[in-house]
Protein backbone atom coordinates (compact mmCIF):
# COMPACT_ATOMS: atom_id res chain seq x y z
CA UNK A 1 0.00 0.00 0.00
CA UNK A 2 2.76 2.39 1.00
CA UNK A 3 4.71 1.68 -2.18
CA UNK A 4 1.61 2.26 -4.32
CA UNK A 5 1.10 5.61 -2.61
CA UNK A 6 4.79 6.38 -3.14
CA UNK A 7 4.75 5.60 -6.84
CA UNK A 8 1.55 7.54 -7.37
CA UNK A 9 3.11 10.49 -5.64
CA UNK A 10 6.27 10.12 -7.72
CA UNK A 11 4.18 10.00 -10.87
CA UNK A 12 2.28 13.08 -9.86
CA UNK A 13 5.51 14.89 -9.08
CA UNK A 14 7.00 13.87 -12.43
CA UNK A 15 3.89 15.13 -14.16
CA UNK A 16 4.07 18.47 -12.36
CA UNK A 17 7.71 18.87 -13.37
CA UNK A 18 6.90 18.08 -16.99
CA UNK A 19 4.00 20.56 -16.98
CA UNK A 20 6.22 23.20 -15.46
CA UNK A 21 8.99 22.63 -17.98
CA UNK A 22 6.49 22.72 -20.85
CA UNK A 23 5.21 26.08 -19.68
CA UNK A 24 8.65 27.59 -19.42
CA UNK A 25 9.82 25.86 -22.63
CA UNK A 26 9.76 29.02 -24.80
CA UNK A 27 12.27 30.56 -22.46
CA UNK A 28 14.16 27.32 -21.86
CA UNK A 29 14.69 26.66 -25.57
CA UNK A 30 15.70 30.28 -26.06
CA UNK A 31 18.10 29.97 -23.15
CA UNK A 32 19.79 26.95 -24.71
CA UNK A 33 20.07 28.52 -28.19
CA UNK A 34 20.68 32.18 -27.41
CA UNK A 35 22.45 32.05 -24.06
CA UNK A 36 24.02 28.73 -23.08
CA UNK A 37 25.36 27.74 -26.49
CA UNK A 38 26.76 31.26 -27.24
CA UNK A 39 28.37 31.50 -23.79
CA UNK A 40 30.19 28.21 -24.36
CA UNK A 41 31.01 29.11 -27.95
CA UNK A 42 32.45 32.49 -27.02
CA UNK A 43 34.54 30.89 -24.27
CA UNK A 44 35.94 28.48 -26.87
CA UNK A 45 36.45 31.19 -29.51
CA UNK A 46 38.30 33.35 -26.98
CA UNK A 47 41.10 30.77 -27.12
CA UNK A 48 41.28 30.86 -30.91
CA UNK A 49 42.34 33.13 -33.71
CA UNK A 50 39.14 33.48 -35.71
CA UNK A 51 38.71 35.97 -38.55
CA UNK A 52 35.39 34.58 -39.82
CA UNK A 53 36.62 33.65 -43.32
CA UNK A 54 39.00 30.89 -42.18
CA UNK A 55 38.11 28.32 -39.51
CA UNK A 56 39.13 29.12 -35.91
CA UNK A 57 42.72 28.24 -34.99
CA UNK A 58 43.57 27.34 -31.37
CA UNK A 59 45.97 29.83 -29.79
CA UNK A 60 45.50 29.01 -26.11
CA UNK A 61 45.79 32.10 -23.94
CA UNK A 62 47.23 34.12 -26.84
CA UNK A 63 44.31 36.55 -27.15
CA UNK A 64 44.31 37.27 -23.43
CA UNK A 65 48.09 37.73 -23.40
CA UNK A 66 47.89 40.14 -26.36
CA UNK A 67 45.10 42.12 -24.69
CA UNK A 68 46.91 42.43 -21.39
CA UNK A 69 49.98 43.64 -23.27
CA UNK A 70 47.95 46.18 -25.27
CA UNK A 71 48.65 49.50 -23.60
CA UNK A 72 47.42 51.53 -26.58
CA UNK A 73 43.78 50.48 -26.67
CA UNK A 74 42.76 47.75 -24.24
CA UNK A 75 43.93 49.28 -20.96
CA UNK A 76 42.93 52.86 -21.89
CA UNK A 77 39.46 51.61 -22.89
CA UNK A 78 39.13 49.98 -19.49
CA UNK A 79 40.33 53.12 -17.75
CA UNK A 80 37.91 55.31 -19.69
CA UNK A 81 35.06 52.97 -18.78
CA UNK A 82 36.14 53.12 -15.13
CA UNK A 83 35.93 56.92 -15.33
CA UNK A 84 32.26 56.60 -16.28
CA UNK A 85 31.59 54.92 -12.94
CA UNK A 86 31.69 58.45 -11.52
CA UNK A 87 28.27 58.76 -13.03
CA UNK A 88 26.74 56.10 -10.76
CA UNK A 89 26.80 58.07 -7.48
CA UNK A 90 25.81 61.27 -9.31
CA UNK A 91 22.78 59.75 -11.02
CA UNK A 92 21.85 57.91 -7.82
CA UNK A 93 21.78 61.14 -5.81
CA UNK A 94 20.05 63.10 -8.57
CA UNK A 95 17.42 60.39 -9.11
CA UNK A 96 16.80 60.20 -5.39
CA UNK A 97 16.53 63.97 -4.93
CA UNK A 98 14.08 64.20 -7.83
CA UNK A 99 12.03 61.37 -6.36
CA UNK A 100 11.97 63.01 -2.92
CA UNK A 101 10.80 66.27 -4.50
CA UNK A 102 8.05 64.43 -6.35
CA UNK A 103 6.97 62.57 -3.23
CA UNK A 104 5.05 65.60 -1.98
CA UNK A 105 1.38 66.35 -2.01
CA UNK A 106 1.47 69.18 -4.52
CA UNK A 107 -0.97 70.14 -7.21
CA UNK A 108 0.17 69.13 -10.70
CA UNK A 109 2.77 66.70 -9.41
CA UNK A 110 1.98 64.31 -12.30
CA UNK A 111 3.00 67.01 -14.78
CA UNK A 112 6.38 67.47 -13.11
CA UNK A 113 6.87 63.72 -13.03
CA UNK A 114 6.12 63.44 -16.74
CA UNK A 115 8.53 66.23 -17.64
CA UNK A 116 11.36 64.89 -15.51
CA UNK A 117 10.85 61.41 -16.92
CA UNK A 118 10.57 62.55 -20.54
CA UNK A 119 14.33 62.46 -21.35
CA UNK A 120 14.39 58.72 -20.58
CA UNK A 121 11.95 58.15 -23.43
CA UNK A 122 13.98 59.89 -26.11
CA UNK A 123 15.60 57.14 -28.23
CA UNK A 124 19.36 56.82 -27.69
CA UNK A 125 20.13 57.81 -31.28
CA UNK A 126 17.95 60.92 -31.13
CA UNK A 127 19.32 61.97 -27.75
CA UNK A 128 22.84 61.48 -29.08
CA UNK A 129 22.03 63.80 -32.02
CA UNK A 130 20.35 66.30 -29.78
CA UNK A 131 23.26 66.41 -27.31
CA UNK A 132 25.79 66.70 -30.11
CA UNK A 133 24.20 70.06 -30.79
CA UNK A 134 23.39 70.98 -27.18
CA UNK A 135 27.08 70.43 -26.37
CA UNK A 136 28.31 72.28 -29.44
CA UNK A 137 31.02 74.61 -28.07
CA UNK A 138 29.93 77.67 -30.08
CA UNK A 139 26.23 77.32 -30.77
CA UNK A 140 25.10 74.84 -28.14
CA UNK A 141 22.70 75.31 -25.29
CA UNK A 142 25.04 74.31 -22.46
CA UNK A 143 27.72 76.83 -23.28
CA UNK A 144 25.12 79.51 -23.93
CA UNK A 145 23.85 78.87 -20.40
CA UNK A 146 27.39 78.99 -18.98
CA UNK A 147 28.06 82.16 -20.93
CA UNK A 148 25.02 83.78 -19.33
CA UNK A 149 26.55 82.93 -15.95
CA UNK A 150 29.88 84.40 -17.11
CA UNK A 151 31.54 80.99 -16.95
CA UNK A 152 33.74 80.14 -19.94
CA UNK A 153 32.31 77.02 -21.63
CA UNK A 154 34.66 74.08 -22.21
CA UNK A 155 35.03 72.51 -25.66
CA UNK A 156 33.16 69.39 -24.42
CA UNK A 157 33.20 66.58 -27.00
CA UNK A 158 36.00 68.23 -28.96
CA UNK A 159 38.51 67.84 -26.16
CA UNK A 160 39.93 64.59 -24.73
CA UNK A 161 39.68 66.01 -21.22
CA UNK A 162 36.04 67.10 -21.46
CA UNK A 163 34.48 64.42 -23.67
CA UNK A 164 33.78 61.99 -20.83
CA UNK A 165 32.33 64.61 -18.45
CA UNK A 166 30.17 65.74 -21.39
CA UNK A 167 28.76 62.23 -21.71
CA UNK A 168 28.17 62.01 -17.98
CA UNK A 169 26.26 65.28 -18.15
CA UNK A 170 24.19 63.91 -21.01
CA UNK A 171 23.39 60.72 -19.09
CA UNK A 172 22.39 62.61 -15.97
CA UNK A 173 19.69 64.18 -18.10
CA UNK A 174 18.17 60.67 -18.13
CA UNK A 175 18.11 60.39 -14.33
CA UNK A 176 14.30 60.28 -14.55
CA UNK A 177 14.52 56.55 -15.28
CA UNK A 178 15.93 55.84 -11.83
CA UNK A 179 13.69 58.51 -10.32
CA UNK A 180 10.50 56.65 -11.23
CA UNK A 181 11.75 53.53 -9.48
CA UNK A 182 12.78 55.46 -6.37
CA UNK A 183 9.45 57.26 -6.35
CA UNK A 184 7.51 54.01 -6.38
CA UNK A 185 9.66 52.76 -3.52
CA UNK A 186 9.15 55.97 -1.53
CA UNK A 187 5.42 55.66 -1.89
CA UNK A 188 5.63 52.15 -0.49
CA UNK A 189 7.26 53.24 2.77
CA UNK A 190 4.67 52.71 5.54
CA UNK A 191 3.39 56.02 6.96
CA UNK A 192 3.41 54.41 10.40
CA UNK A 193 7.21 54.52 10.35
CA UNK A 194 7.18 58.28 9.75
CA UNK A 195 4.59 58.78 12.48
CA UNK A 196 6.66 56.76 14.93
CA UNK A 197 9.76 58.76 13.99
CA UNK A 198 7.88 62.03 14.44
CA UNK A 199 6.69 60.89 17.88
CA UNK A 200 10.30 60.22 18.80
CA UNK A 201 11.06 63.81 17.82
CA UNK A 202 13.02 63.06 14.67
CA UNK A 203 13.60 66.05 12.39
CA UNK A 204 13.33 65.96 8.60
CA UNK A 205 16.95 64.97 8.08
CA UNK A 206 16.75 62.22 10.69
CA UNK A 207 13.57 60.87 9.12
CA UNK A 208 15.33 60.77 5.75
CA UNK A 209 18.46 59.18 7.17
CA UNK A 210 16.89 56.61 9.49
CA UNK A 211 13.49 55.87 7.95
CA UNK A 212 13.41 56.71 4.25
CA UNK A 213 16.84 55.60 3.11
CA UNK A 214 16.87 52.23 4.94
CA UNK A 215 13.35 51.51 3.70
CA UNK A 216 14.23 52.03 0.05
CA UNK A 217 17.75 50.60 0.24
CA UNK A 218 16.82 47.43 -1.71
CA UNK A 219 15.80 49.64 -4.63
CA UNK A 220 18.98 51.71 -4.40
CA UNK A 221 20.84 48.41 -4.46
CA UNK A 222 18.91 47.24 -7.54
CA UNK A 223 19.64 50.49 -9.39
CA UNK A 224 23.30 50.36 -8.42
CA UNK A 225 23.71 46.83 -9.80
CA UNK A 226 21.93 47.72 -13.04
CA UNK A 227 24.10 50.85 -13.25
CA UNK A 228 27.30 48.83 -12.90
CA UNK A 229 26.19 46.43 -15.63
CA UNK A 230 25.06 49.26 -17.89
CA UNK A 231 28.27 51.26 -17.52
CA UNK A 232 30.40 48.36 -18.70
CA UNK A 233 28.22 48.15 -21.80
CA UNK A 234 28.18 51.83 -22.70
CA UNK A 235 28.06 51.82 -26.49
CA UNK A 236 25.47 53.65 -28.60
CA UNK A 237 26.25 57.20 -27.49
CA UNK A 238 30.00 56.96 -28.05
CA UNK A 239 29.53 55.12 -31.33
CA UNK A 240 27.33 57.92 -32.67
CA UNK A 241 28.74 61.01 -31.03
CA UNK A 242 32.49 60.51 -31.01
CA UNK A 243 33.32 57.12 -32.57
CA UNK A 244 35.71 56.82 -29.64
CA UNK A 245 37.43 60.18 -30.18
CA UNK A 246 38.89 62.67 -29.69
CA UNK A 247 42.23 60.97 -29.27
CA UNK A 248 40.50 57.72 -28.22
CA UNK A 249 39.32 59.43 -25.02
CA UNK A 250 35.84 57.88 -25.39
CA UNK A 251 36.91 54.56 -26.86
CA UNK A 252 35.07 52.71 -24.13
CA UNK A 253 35.42 49.00 -23.57
CA UNK A 254 32.20 47.96 -25.33
CA UNK A 255 33.04 50.12 -28.35
CA UNK A 256 36.54 48.68 -28.69
CA UNK A 257 35.02 45.21 -28.37
CA UNK A 258 32.53 46.01 -31.13
CA UNK A 259 35.33 47.31 -33.37
CA UNK A 260 37.32 44.13 -32.87
CA UNK A 261 34.34 41.95 -33.69
CA UNK A 262 32.59 43.77 -36.51
CA UNK A 263 35.15 46.14 -38.01
CA UNK A 264 38.40 44.18 -37.79
CA UNK A 265 36.64 40.77 -37.65
CA UNK A 266 38.93 39.59 -34.88
CA UNK A 267 36.24 37.39 -33.32
CA UNK A 268 38.70 35.57 -31.04
CA UNK A 269 39.95 38.82 -29.53
CA UNK A 270 36.40 40.15 -29.21
CA UNK A 271 35.27 36.98 -27.40
CA UNK A 272 38.24 37.22 -25.03
CA UNK A 273 37.24 40.83 -24.31
CA UNK A 274 33.65 39.73 -23.74
CA UNK A 275 34.76 37.16 -21.19
CA UNK A 276 36.98 39.64 -19.39
CA UNK A 277 33.96 41.98 -19.33
CA UNK A 278 31.81 39.17 -17.94
CA UNK A 279 34.29 38.45 -15.15
CA UNK A 280 34.69 42.14 -14.32
CA UNK A 281 30.91 42.57 -14.17
CA UNK A 282 30.64 39.59 -11.85
CA UNK A 283 33.38 40.87 -9.55
CA UNK A 284 31.83 44.36 -9.43
CA UNK A 285 28.37 42.92 -8.77
CA UNK A 286 29.80 40.65 -6.09
CA UNK A 287 31.44 43.61 -4.36
CA UNK A 288 28.12 45.46 -4.32
CA UNK A 289 26.42 42.31 -3.03
CA UNK A 290 29.00 41.73 -0.30
CA UNK A 291 28.79 45.27 1.01
CA UNK A 292 24.99 45.25 0.69
CA UNK A 293 24.59 43.25 3.91
CA UNK A 294 25.81 46.37 5.73
CA UNK A 295 23.47 48.89 4.14
CA UNK A 296 20.55 47.11 2.49
CA UNK A 297 17.64 46.47 4.79
CA UNK A 298 15.01 43.94 3.83
CA UNK A 299 11.67 44.12 5.55
CA UNK A 300 10.86 41.01 7.56
CA UNK A 301 14.51 40.09 7.89
CA UNK A 302 15.70 39.43 11.44
CA UNK A 303 18.35 41.88 12.56
Amino acid sequence: MASVMGSREARRERRSIITGLLFISPWLVGFLIFTLYPVIASAYLSFTDYRVLAPPRWVGLGNYRDLFADHDYFWPSLGDTAFMFLELPLSLVLGLVLALLLDQKLRGIAVYRTILYLPSIVPAVASAMLWLFVLNPEHGLVNAGLHALHVPGPPWLASPAWAKPAMILMDLWGAGGGMVIYLAALQGVPTALYEAAALDGANAWQRLRFVTLPSISPVIFFNLIMGVIGTFQYFTQTFIMTSGGPNNSTLFYALYLYQNAFQYFRMGTACAMAWILFLLTMVATLIVFKTSARWVYYEGEAR
Partner: protein
Protein backbone atom coordinates in the same frame (compact mmCIF):
# COMPACT_ATOMS: atom_id res chain seq x y z
CA UNK B 1 8.68 63.54 4.10
CA UNK B 2 5.25 64.37 2.78
CA UNK B 3 4.92 67.83 4.27
CA UNK B 4 8.48 68.83 4.99
CA UNK B 5 8.75 71.41 2.21
CA UNK B 6 6.37 74.32 2.00
CA UNK B 7 4.23 74.07 -1.16
CA UNK B 8 5.48 77.26 -2.79
CA UNK B 9 9.12 76.38 -2.38
CA UNK B 10 8.32 72.90 -3.71
CA UNK B 11 6.71 74.35 -6.82
CA UNK B 12 9.57 76.79 -7.42
CA UNK B 13 12.21 74.05 -7.24
CA UNK B 14 10.19 71.66 -9.40
CA UNK B 15 9.45 74.30 -12.04
CA UNK B 16 13.15 75.22 -12.23
CA UNK B 17 14.12 71.55 -12.59
CA UNK B 18 11.40 70.93 -15.15
CA UNK B 19 12.66 73.81 -17.29
CA UNK B 20 16.20 72.48 -17.00
CA UNK B 21 15.17 68.97 -18.07
CA UNK B 22 12.88 70.21 -20.79
CA UNK B 23 15.37 72.70 -22.27
CA UNK B 24 17.31 70.25 -24.49
CA UNK B 25 14.08 68.93 -26.04
CA UNK B 26 12.73 72.45 -26.58
CA UNK B 27 16.10 73.40 -28.06
CA UNK B 28 15.83 70.46 -30.47
CA UNK B 29 12.33 71.45 -31.59
CA UNK B 30 13.22 75.12 -31.81
CA UNK B 31 16.33 74.41 -33.89
CA UNK B 32 14.32 72.14 -36.16
CA UNK B 33 12.21 75.16 -37.17
CA UNK B 34 15.03 77.62 -37.79
CA UNK B 35 16.48 78.93 -41.03
CA UNK B 36 20.21 78.31 -41.55
CA UNK B 37 21.22 81.82 -40.55
CA UNK B 38 19.25 81.68 -37.28
CA UNK B 39 21.14 78.69 -35.94
CA UNK B 40 24.55 80.24 -35.68
CA UNK B 41 23.77 83.24 -33.51
CA UNK B 42 25.42 84.04 -30.22
CA UNK B 43 22.12 84.59 -28.41
CA UNK B 44 19.72 81.69 -28.43
CA UNK B 45 16.43 82.47 -30.06
CA UNK B 46 13.90 80.08 -28.56
CA UNK B 47 11.05 80.97 -30.89
CA UNK B 48 12.12 80.90 -34.52
CA UNK B 49 10.93 83.89 -36.45
CA UNK B 50 9.52 82.96 -38.86
CA UNK B 51 9.28 79.20 -38.20
CA UNK B 52 10.63 77.28 -41.17
CA UNK B 53 8.16 74.41 -41.41
CA UNK B 54 9.76 73.40 -44.65
CA UNK B 55 12.67 71.86 -42.69
CA UNK B 56 10.47 68.87 -41.92
CA UNK B 57 9.59 67.81 -45.48
CA UNK B 58 13.20 68.61 -46.43
CA UNK B 59 14.59 66.38 -43.66
CA UNK B 60 12.20 63.56 -44.49
CA UNK B 61 13.17 63.79 -48.15
CA UNK B 62 16.87 63.50 -47.27
CA UNK B 63 16.45 60.01 -45.98
CA UNK B 64 13.75 57.60 -47.13
CA UNK B 65 11.73 58.22 -44.00
CA UNK B 66 8.63 56.25 -44.95
CA UNK B 67 10.68 53.23 -45.96
CA UNK B 68 12.62 53.34 -42.68
CA UNK B 69 9.40 53.81 -40.75
CA UNK B 70 7.93 50.74 -42.46
CA UNK B 71 11.05 48.69 -41.66
CA UNK B 72 11.00 49.85 -38.05
CA UNK B 73 7.32 49.05 -37.65
CA UNK B 74 7.74 45.55 -39.11
CA UNK B 75 10.48 44.83 -36.59
CA UNK B 76 8.55 46.45 -33.74
CA UNK B 77 5.31 44.58 -34.39
CA UNK B 78 7.13 41.27 -34.83
CA UNK B 79 9.01 41.83 -31.59
CA UNK B 80 5.89 42.78 -29.64
CA UNK B 81 3.99 39.68 -30.81
CA UNK B 82 6.93 37.41 -30.08
CA UNK B 83 7.66 38.91 -26.68
CA UNK B 84 4.10 38.86 -25.38
CA UNK B 85 3.38 35.30 -26.53
CA UNK B 86 6.62 33.86 -25.27
CA UNK B 87 6.47 35.68 -21.93
CA UNK B 88 2.98 34.62 -20.85
CA UNK B 89 3.60 30.85 -20.75
CA UNK B 90 6.86 30.90 -18.77
CA UNK B 91 5.49 33.59 -16.44
CA UNK B 92 2.58 31.25 -15.64
CA UNK B 93 4.96 28.35 -15.10
CA UNK B 94 7.00 30.44 -12.68
CA UNK B 95 4.16 32.15 -10.85
CA UNK B 96 1.20 29.77 -10.70
CA UNK B 97 2.55 26.23 -10.89
CA UNK B 98 4.40 24.41 -8.13
CA UNK B 99 7.07 22.01 -9.34
CA UNK B 100 10.45 20.81 -8.25
CA UNK B 101 13.22 22.79 -9.92
CA UNK B 102 11.09 25.85 -10.45
CA UNK B 103 13.09 28.10 -8.17
CA UNK B 104 16.40 26.96 -9.60
CA UNK B 105 15.14 27.71 -13.11
CA UNK B 106 13.85 31.09 -12.01
CA UNK B 107 17.18 32.05 -10.46
CA UNK B 108 18.92 30.90 -13.64
CA UNK B 109 16.63 33.15 -15.67
CA UNK B 110 17.23 36.17 -13.44
CA UNK B 111 20.97 35.51 -13.65
CA UNK B 112 20.82 35.81 -17.45
CA UNK B 113 19.69 39.43 -17.06
CA UNK B 114 23.10 40.15 -15.58
CA UNK B 115 24.99 38.44 -18.38
CA UNK B 116 26.61 41.13 -20.57
CA UNK B 117 25.11 40.88 -24.05
CA UNK B 118 28.61 41.05 -25.51
CA UNK B 119 29.32 37.51 -24.28
CA UNK B 120 26.67 36.08 -26.58
CA UNK B 121 26.87 38.72 -29.31
CA UNK B 122 29.53 37.16 -31.55
CA UNK B 123 28.39 33.50 -31.45
CA UNK B 124 24.77 34.56 -32.06
CA UNK B 125 25.92 36.68 -34.99
CA UNK B 126 27.91 33.74 -36.38
CA UNK B 127 24.88 31.48 -35.88
CA UNK B 128 22.60 33.79 -37.86
CA UNK B 129 25.31 34.23 -40.44
CA UNK B 130 25.57 30.48 -40.97
CA UNK B 131 21.78 30.36 -41.39
CA UNK B 132 22.08 33.08 -44.04
CA UNK B 133 19.86 35.42 -42.01
CA UNK B 134 22.20 38.39 -41.76
CA UNK B 135 20.97 41.21 -43.96
CA UNK B 136 17.35 40.40 -43.08
CA UNK B 137 14.97 41.31 -40.25
CA UNK B 138 14.95 37.74 -38.94
CA UNK B 139 17.83 38.09 -36.43
CA UNK B 140 16.04 41.11 -34.97
CA UNK B 141 12.63 39.45 -34.63
CA UNK B 142 13.07 35.71 -34.13
CA UNK B 143 14.88 35.85 -30.75
CA UNK B 144 11.92 37.71 -29.26
CA UNK B 145 9.83 34.54 -29.71
CA UNK B 146 12.02 32.76 -27.18
CA UNK B 147 11.08 34.45 -23.96
CA UNK B 148 12.67 37.67 -22.80
CA UNK B 149 13.75 37.30 -19.16
CA UNK B 150 12.79 40.84 -18.19
CA UNK B 151 9.26 40.53 -19.64
CA UNK B 152 8.73 37.12 -18.05
CA UNK B 153 9.82 38.55 -14.71
CA UNK B 154 7.42 41.48 -15.06
CA UNK B 155 4.46 39.25 -15.94
CA UNK B 156 5.33 36.80 -13.19
CA UNK B 157 5.22 39.60 -10.62
CA UNK B 158 1.75 40.48 -11.84
CA UNK B 159 0.52 36.88 -11.96
CA UNK B 160 1.65 36.36 -8.35
CA UNK B 161 -0.81 39.01 -7.24
CA UNK B 162 -3.88 37.30 -8.74
CA UNK B 163 -5.84 35.43 -6.02
CA UNK B 164 -5.16 31.68 -5.99
CA UNK B 165 -8.87 30.96 -5.34
CA UNK B 166 -9.72 31.87 -8.94
CA UNK B 167 -7.40 29.15 -10.24
CA UNK B 168 -8.64 26.62 -7.67
CA UNK B 169 -12.26 27.20 -8.64
CA UNK B 170 -11.44 26.71 -12.32
CA UNK B 171 -9.49 23.53 -11.52
CA UNK B 172 -12.50 22.10 -9.68
CA UNK B 173 -14.56 22.85 -12.78
CA UNK B 174 -12.12 20.68 -14.73
CA UNK B 175 -10.16 23.41 -16.43
CA UNK B 176 -6.55 22.51 -17.25
CA UNK B 177 -3.59 24.81 -16.62
CA UNK B 178 -3.46 26.19 -20.16
CA UNK B 179 -7.19 26.91 -19.95
CA UNK B 180 -6.72 28.75 -16.66
CA UNK B 181 -3.97 30.85 -18.18
CA UNK B 182 -5.98 31.75 -21.27
CA UNK B 183 -9.42 32.18 -19.72
CA UNK B 184 -8.69 33.54 -16.27
CA UNK B 185 -5.20 34.90 -15.84
CA UNK B 186 -4.63 36.64 -19.17
CA UNK B 187 -7.89 38.63 -19.14
CA UNK B 188 -6.98 39.86 -15.64
CA UNK B 189 -3.41 40.62 -16.65
CA UNK B 190 -4.23 43.03 -19.48
CA UNK B 191 -2.43 45.98 -17.84
CA UNK B 192 0.72 43.92 -17.37
CA UNK B 193 0.51 42.57 -20.93
CA UNK B 194 0.16 46.15 -22.16
CA UNK B 195 3.26 47.12 -20.21
CA UNK B 196 5.25 44.26 -21.71
CA UNK B 197 4.01 45.15 -25.20
CA UNK B 198 4.88 48.81 -24.69
CA UNK B 199 8.36 48.07 -23.36
CA UNK B 200 9.17 45.69 -26.17
CA UNK B 201 7.84 48.14 -28.77
CA UNK B 202 9.97 50.94 -27.39
CA UNK B 203 12.96 48.65 -27.09
CA UNK B 204 12.70 47.63 -30.74
CA UNK B 205 12.05 51.21 -31.87
CA UNK B 206 15.18 52.51 -30.13
CA UNK B 207 17.44 49.49 -30.70
CA UNK B 208 20.65 50.59 -32.34
CA UNK B 209 23.25 47.87 -31.98
CA UNK B 210 21.06 45.07 -33.38
CA UNK B 211 20.19 46.77 -36.69
CA UNK B 212 23.76 48.10 -36.89
CA UNK B 213 25.15 44.58 -36.83
CA UNK B 214 22.56 42.76 -38.89
CA UNK B 215 21.28 45.22 -41.54
CA UNK B 216 23.77 46.08 -44.25
CA UNK B 217 21.60 47.21 -47.16
CA UNK B 218 20.42 50.81 -46.69
CA UNK B 219 16.97 49.77 -47.95
CA UNK B 220 16.54 47.75 -44.79
CA UNK B 221 17.61 50.40 -42.33
CA UNK B 222 15.46 51.25 -39.35
CA UNK B 223 14.81 54.83 -38.25
CA UNK B 224 17.56 54.61 -35.63
CA UNK B 225 20.20 53.54 -38.15
CA UNK B 226 18.79 55.88 -40.78
CA UNK B 227 19.11 58.80 -38.40
CA UNK B 228 22.72 57.91 -37.68
CA UNK B 229 23.58 57.69 -41.37
CA UNK B 230 21.83 61.05 -41.83
CA UNK B 231 24.34 62.51 -39.39
CA UNK B 232 27.16 61.07 -41.45
CA UNK B 233 25.92 62.67 -44.66
CA UNK B 234 24.52 66.00 -43.46
CA UNK B 235 26.53 66.56 -40.30
CA UNK B 236 26.50 70.37 -40.33
CA UNK B 237 22.83 70.90 -41.14
CA UNK B 238 21.63 71.07 -37.57
CA UNK B 239 18.10 72.28 -38.36
CA UNK B 240 17.44 69.28 -40.60
CA UNK B 241 19.13 66.88 -38.19
CA UNK B 242 17.01 68.19 -35.33
CA UNK B 243 13.87 67.91 -37.47
CA UNK B 244 14.71 64.27 -38.22
CA UNK B 245 15.48 63.60 -34.54
CA UNK B 246 12.17 65.19 -33.53
CA UNK B 247 10.29 62.99 -35.97
CA UNK B 248 11.97 59.85 -34.59
CA UNK B 249 11.29 60.92 -31.00
CA UNK B 250 7.69 62.15 -31.23
CA UNK B 251 5.98 58.76 -31.71
CA UNK B 252 7.57 57.53 -28.49
CA UNK B 253 6.55 60.62 -26.58
CA UNK B 254 3.03 60.20 -27.94
CA UNK B 255 2.99 56.54 -26.94
CA UNK B 256 4.20 57.53 -23.49
CA UNK B 257 1.46 60.09 -23.01
CA UNK B 258 -1.22 57.61 -24.02
CA UNK B 259 0.08 54.88 -21.78
CA UNK B 260 1.71 56.79 -18.98
CA UNK B 261 0.07 54.95 -16.12
CA UNK B 262 0.77 51.55 -17.61
CA UNK B 263 4.31 52.57 -18.20
CA UNK B 264 5.21 53.97 -14.82
CA UNK B 265 3.46 51.17 -12.97
CA UNK B 266 5.41 48.65 -15.02
CA UNK B 267 8.74 50.23 -14.21
CA UNK B 268 7.84 50.52 -10.58
CA UNK B 269 6.72 46.88 -10.48
CA UNK B 270 10.04 45.56 -11.78
CA UNK B 271 12.04 47.76 -9.50
CA UNK B 272 10.27 47.33 -6.23
CA UNK B 273 9.08 43.81 -5.72
CA UNK B 274 12.16 41.61 -5.69
Amino acid sequence: MKKSITPILGHVVLIALSLLFLAPVLFMISTSLKADNQIYTSNIQWIPNPPVWHNYPAALAYFPFWLYLRNTLIICVGTVIGTVFSAALPAYGFARLKWRGRNAMFILMIATIMLPSQVTLMPVFLLFRSLGWTGSFLPLIVPSFFGNAFSIFLLRQFFLGIPQELSDAARIDGCNELGILVRIILPLAKPALATVALFSFMGAWTDFQGPLIYLHDSHQYTLAIGLQSFLGRHGGEWNLLMAASTVVTLPLIAAFFFAQRTFIQGIAMTGVKG
